[in-house]
Symmetry: C3
Subunit: 158 residues, 3 copies
């Protein structure tokens, strides 16, 4: 697989990923990741300072599933929906079947009463690993939000 | 044509489609569709409930042309412009030369005085059919807006 | 190189370009252009009227470098960041190793205090030239902003 093919496949994985989240099929969401994995939501400020923790931190699929369960209990999807718009990725590096990729995104939030606002902009810093069956999974997805204000009630996967 | 090629062609069709609308070349717009076709603009709420009607409904190219004529008489393009930003598509299904595809979008509206606001977010639910000459056309384009508030004056093609 | 390959390469160049700007690696920015080149930021109104000048005008890499130096002195990146979301391109024409391409964009501005707003929407009108080593460069990038209001303090590359 050459780099252009790889990047196009990453692009399609991003589409499937955001479709999964925006269409509220969250039970499938952990399957986009390897196990163990790294899923972090952080701010650009914290990322530059090298802080690992982030607003959200998970390093197994089990933790991702727990997060979905929490969301279901909180019933957050009753109240709002999301819409991800994802730009094209840049390939940073490929080695040993793992590609490091950076991809910009914007996310809108649509409230039950119809009001829509910009929820977050940022970039995905991903390590994408080719599986034995040829499919791709995120070994790491670090979601770096541009704004230092991240909704403390943030619960949906970005 | 394999699925990656098909999806890339769908992506380019989406670019041409939105360019046609945003550059006010609406007379060409119906040519993106087969005849008969299905073009519906609806809300996520109505779509989930299975309502077919939508805010806009057209099932022939002639109806699409009528809509453009109506817009020209209303002179709406004198007053505002639009800008579509379209994300990458997800292929849902392919059978008998027809692909079902889902694609997220965001549309901005730019008023004559320069004010710009987010007009709509949503997703295209398309049936794309390969023509004899190898080109693609929309057999169906169902535009599902995320917000339940759709501008009742909505007239431009989304 | 067929047109689909070319368009995909243009897409990746757009990603690298916006990544360079959004990640504040502006010293590399002029290398996306041939020398001489044409880099213009203008409004749709002015573009339709055939005005060449634009809000920003540069026709050599040296002028692009000067602009970056000016930005560094003004320290504008201390105060705000940007996020480009770029849609897929449409190929308008190819001749003599030069492709004319149109690509929609939206740019968000993130202030130091975290406030984020839509900064500009518009389209890139590019002439992309294939170099001897197979890489692509912008012979021309005309940035046509949709709104007639362009921030007079506009300084960042769009």
């Amino acid at each position: 697989m050459d780099n252009a093919d790889l990047l196009f496949k990453v692009t399609l994985m991003n589409s499937s990923y955001t479709r999964c989240v925006d269409n509220d099929e969250l039970e499938v969401w952990p399957e986009f990741f390897t196990d163990p994995c790294l899923y972090v939501v952080t701010t650009d400020d914290n990322h530059r300072r090298g802080y690992q923790a982030g607003v959200i931190y998970a390093d197994t699929r089990g933790m991702l599933h727990d997060r979905v369960s929490g969301l279901r209990e909180a019933n957050i999807y009753e109240k709002q929906r999301y819409r991800h718009i994802v730009s094209m990725p840049t390939l940073l590096d490929v080695a040993d079947g793992t590609a490091r990729v950076e991809t910009p995104f914007a996310v809108y939030r649509i409230m039950r009463d119809g009001r829509t606002d910009l929820f977050a902009t940022g970039r995905y810093l991903d390590s994408v690993r080719t599986q034995k069956d040829g499919s791709l999974r995120f070994a790491e997805r670090v979601v770096v939000c541009d704004s230092s204000i991240v909704d403390t009630l943030l619960a949906i996967p970005l």
